[in-house]
Structure formats: structure tokens, C-alpha cells
Amino acid sequence: MKVILNCEQIEQILRDLTGHIISEIPAELDVAVIGIRSRGEILAHRLSSRLSQQLSKNIPCGTLDITLYRDDLNSPQGSAQPQVRTTEIGFDIDDKIIILVDDVLYTGRSSRAAMDALIDLGRPRAIKLAVLVDRAGRELPIQADYAGFKADVAPGKLVQVNFTESDGKDQVVIE
């Protein structure tokens, strides 16, 4: 196990991501943050509260469950069986700029599923992808608009993102 990001570094990345988003998105447009379950959910909450604070307006935050949109549902998945959970988005996504948030961008398959799931909920003005770790190894033509940390990790290794809310501690490790 190797720590690639510690608590301070994650804090710095969140600060940078927030600044980057604010500088790029015109102030008059409606923005909302939606996290992909389950680590994206935590990241989305943190981002939306930072954005709300700095923009002095409420930036709504939601959670997206992408299980029903996965592309591997009909192929044997080894020991991991995805569990369907709830999507909790308490606002209309039509015409909003949606910041889609995940902890790690790797193959791009989760992001593809998330975009399809979002489109079934409405028609956002734009979807922007924000991730904490941008790991090399894309299998689909997808890239992040806001990437915190770029990592080139050997296939077969696992990039594990831990958050205080879920794991007691903020850090990113390679296992």
C-alpha cells in the first residue's frame, strides 16, 4: 500500500478544483453538483459547499446511482455484485450546468453510465466532469474537465480513495 495523496494534498486539490470551476463557469448560469455513488457523493458534497460559500449562493447537490446503467450487468462480474441504490437529486437538472463528480476516472465506463443516467432525468445545459484522481487507462473517449491529480498506475493495481466521512481519514492509496 502506497499513499499517493495525503489529507493536506486533498485539501489543496479541492481548493484548486473549486477555483478552477468558478473561474470557468459564467456567474449568471445555474450550476449544480452531482456525485456518483459512493465516493463521488462525498466529494460532491464537499465541492458544493465550497462553491456555495465562495459564490454566496446555494449550489444544489445530488447523488446519482449508476448501477442500472452499467455496461457489465449481463456479464459475470466475479465476486462483486453491484447493489442498486437510490438516486437522490432533489432539483430539476434541465438547463443547469451539471458538475458530475467521481473519485477516480479510470476506464471512463462509470462516467458513460452516469451521463446516460443523467440524460434520463432531464436535459442539462452542459455536463462537466470533475474527479479527484485522473488515472490513465481509458477504454472510452472520455476525459475530465477538472482533474485534481493525474496518476499513471499499473493495471491490476487499485486506486483507493478514503474520506473522513466514510473511512475515518482523507487519503488516496494504491493497493
Binding site: Y69, P76, D120, G122
Partner: protein, 319 residues
């Protein structure tokens, strides 16, 4: 914010849902938890998700049904499956084709999930042993109606939070009711106490073997229970004269506004439908503030979507 890296050990492994008697509390809870994620599909503008895309579901109904059949059909189409509707009256069964031949022929067309209702208890199990497709029981004889039991506990859990320690009365024609049996299994496994209420002529003869207490007086139990599930008097199944008259039945076992005055203020009134208004339940009660009858129908959609999704998942893992 709930987090759950630890809760991952459980795996759903059944490609058939034949009854609730054979399920563990953990399996039942898993279906209910899964169903939660399907509820919102019915409320959004695009009422469809793709997990059963390219799969074929056949509604194989040998008995009349509107609610269950439509609910399964809609659930399957919301998951993007294709549906074949099969009814006894307009099929080759009326020409003498056996259940197995019918199913084998349907299977040869490439179906993935059979939803079956049959008047013979055990028909779904028989089918599951003889075909490769997933089998979901939509009611067999007087045995089980598992998705009805599931949607009932789902509805109770959603409103009361949990079934642990609740007292639940199931009232009416218990002997001919597969709903009563499926409810009994689901409710007791989740920690509730069930009381069967009805005239002795409508109690199953072996009721003593079931984990349930029996009462022949609705007036005795009405004050005690948190949930009351009123069964329909199934005139099509009643032979002989199980009770002297409809009026007398209604007098002793009907849920009237008068009786409701003695019930707990937050009692849930349930009914699997279709309702005989004025017989087992008065209209005022069926449409009253404590009634969750339409909520049951709504939740049935989510539960059936979850069941179709899970059996298909189990089949995908096994192939």
C-alpha cells in the same frame, strides 16, 4: 451520508423467485433495499432504465389477473425488456397443450424470464426445474404470491420504519389465500407478529403448524394491531357455504368505520385488491386516511422491478 464499504459481502444468487418461505430475512431485506432504488424510475419524466435491454419476459397467466399482470408488464417494460403476454383463453392451452410444452415452446423463442400464475400450487417450482429461463411466481394455487408479500412488507417498512415488534392482523379467507401465506413468511421473518383472523370455516386446517396465532373475532384484535391486512372474499374459490350470508360475514369480519374508531390512530389499512366494497371493507375505510391500498399498488411496481432485475443478475452470474 451513509457509507457502506463493509456491507458488500451479500450476494443475491437466486435466478428464480418461487416463494418467500424459502428466503432468509437477509434475502428479503436485500430485495426491499434494492426496490428502493427503483421507486424513482416511476416518478421521473423518462420512466425507463436499461438493465433488461434485449431480454424477453413472458407473462404466463393461467388465471385471471389485472393488477399483478399489468404491474409485472409495466415493471418489465420500465427496465427495457420486451414482454410477451400469454393468456390461457387465447392460447394453445385451450387446445390441450401442457404447461411444460407451452413453456418449452416459449423458451425456444428465446425468453429469459417467465412470470407465471397458475391455479396449481407448485407449478412455478415444477417449471423452474424443467426450463433454463428464470421463473418468477406471480401466484400459485393457495401456496404463495411472493411479490404481493414483498410489496406489503415494503409498504409497512416504508411507513413504520421496520417490522420488528409490530402486530399485524390478516383478516378474511385465510384458507384460500396465497397472499396470507406469503405475507406471513415475509412479516414473521422481518420480526412482526401475525394474527390470522376469520371464521373457522375459512381457516386452513393445518394452521396450528404455522408461526401464527389465530383469532375468530375481529373485535378482539382490532385494538391491538399496528397493521390490518383485509383479504378479498374470493367468491370464485369458495365452495359450499363457508359463512351463512355476505351480510353476516361483513357484520363480524368487515372493516367498518365503526370498528376503526377502536383501532390505533396510526393503524395501516391494507388490501391486496380487488376490493369488494362494503363486504370485507367499507368504502369510507378503504378511501380513508389510514388506508395505504394505492400505496401498495405503487410500491408493487418497484418491488417487481427489483425482483426481475435480481433474478436476471443471478442468471448472468451463472452463465
Amino acid at each position: 451520508m451513509a457509507l457502506r464499504r463493509k456491507s458488500k459481502q451479500f450476494r443475491w444468487h437466486r435466478k428464480h423467485l418461487l416463494g418467500l418461505r424459502e428466503l432468509s430475512a437477509e434475502e428479503i431485506t436485500y430485495i426491499l433495499d434494492t426496490a428502493k432504488g427503483f421507486e424513482q424510475i416511476s416518478t421521473r419524466s423518462v420512466k425507463k432504465a436499461p438493465p433488461l435491454r434485449g431480454k424477453v419476459v413472458v407473462n404466463l397467466f393461467f388465471e385471471d389477473s389485472t393488477r399483478t399482470r399489468n404491474s409485472f408488464a409495466l415493471a418489465a417494460s420500465r427496465l427495457s425488456a420486451d414482454i410477451i403476454e400469454f393468456t390461457k383463453k387465447v392460447s394453445s392451452v385451450s387446445k390441450g397443450e401442457t404447461l411444460l410444452d407451452t413453456a418449452k415452446n416459449l423458451e425456444a423463442m428465446g425468453i429469459d424470464i417467465v412470470v407465471i400464475r397458475h391455479n396449481a400450487g407448485g407449478a412455478p417450482k415444477f417449471l423452474s426445474r424443467n426450463i433454463n429461463a428464470c421463473v418468477v411466481n406471480a401466484g400459485d394455487g393457495f401456496c404463495e404470491h411472493p411479490t404481493q408479500g414483498l410489496l406489503d412488507v415494503y409498504t409497512i417498512r416504508k411507513i413504520k420504519g421496520s417490522l420488528e415488534g409490530l402486530k399485524i392482523a390478516i383478516v378474511g379467507d385465510i384458507a384460500h389465500s396465497r397472499v396470507a401465506r406469503s405475507c406471513l413468511w415475509a412479516m414473521t421473518k422481518l420480526g412482526a407478529e401475525v394474527i390470522f383472523v376469520g371464521p373457522p370455516t375459512l381457516m386452513p386446517t393445518q394452521v396450528g403448524r404455522l408461526p401464527v396465532s389465530v383469532s375468530y373475532s375481529l373485535d378482539e384484535v382490532i385494538e391491538k394491531v399496528d397493521v390490518i391486512n383485509m383479504l378479498r372474499i374470493q367468491f370464485e374459490r369458495l365452495g359450499g357455504n363457508p359463512f351463512p350470508s355476505v351480510r353476516e360475514y361483513s357484520h363480524y369480519f368487515g372493516l367498518t368505520a365503526e370498528r376503526m374508531k377502536r383501532a390505533k390512530p396510526d393503524i395501516l389499512v391494507m388490501h391486496p385488491g380487488p376490493i369488494n366494497r362494503g363486504l370485507e371493507i367499507e368504502s369510507e375505510v378503504a378511501d380513508g386516511a389510514n388506508s395505504v391500498i394505492l400505496e401498495q399498488v405503487k410500491n408493487g411496481m418497484a418491488v417487481r422491478m427489483a425482483v426481475l432485475f435480481l433474478v436476471n443478475q443471478a442468471a448472468a452470474q451463472k452463465n
